[in-house]
Amino acid sequence: MSATSTCQDCIDLLLDYVDGELPADTKAKLDEHFHGCQPCEDFLATYQATSTLCRRSLAKKMPDSVAAKLHDFLRHEISKDRDGER
């Protein structure tokens, strides 16, 4: 990366930046860019929020009927398994 980084440079490296995986000098350049560039700062905030929103939004619960079937299935299979050992 050149001495001054562009928005594009920063956004290309966002994943490693968020993970804290960038070398210190590269991270310093990104930090500097973010401080002077409001669009990038907002982009970073929304990039991180995307993961949070998606995780919350895609949450799902197992239906009771499926849970009951799972329970019966395991009982049945495991007793078969145990009988086989005897």
Partner: protein
Amino acid sequence: MVEDSVLLLRAQAGEMAAFEQLVERHQHKVFAMTARMLRSDDDAAEVVQEAFLAAYKKLPEFRGESAFGSWVYRIAANYALMRLRHRKVTAQVEEPEGGPEFNERGSLIDEVADWSPNAEGQTLDAELRNAIDEASAKLPEEYRQVFLLRDVEGLSYEEIATATGDSVPAIKSRLHRARLSLRAAIDRFYADRAS
């Protein structure tokens, strides 16, 4: 509440009720992940059965270096991925749509709205939920899987690499593209609402 590790020891000693308690504790998370990956509750129900049965059979080998929950989770993710591989008939080379645009100097062209405070709100808007559902369903399969495993399920890059057989750099690159695409979709949602 009795800890998983205690239940695990009892289950390993052959106590069925202890194993059943472990299943009850982890079934929802395992089901949620497989249902999202396979986009089918019926297929997910089968995979959950396979995964817990496999876990039961492997109980004697389980040494407890990792938590029971993440162990079963990985088993289920593997079963789900195996099914997906069978399903895949034609290889896709699509790329996810959406992402930022830059001018010739590499600067962001469009204005960026900061809607990130909404991510921490108490309840999620049903319409936003729909928008995210649709956008994630539209992602090309390889991108969707990586995104789900990492951002929704919280698996490590190494765990995903083991499960999918892809390299960590490839996984990271797909994850980044998937996030940009979903970010753009959420951004459109808020822009439409504001207009």
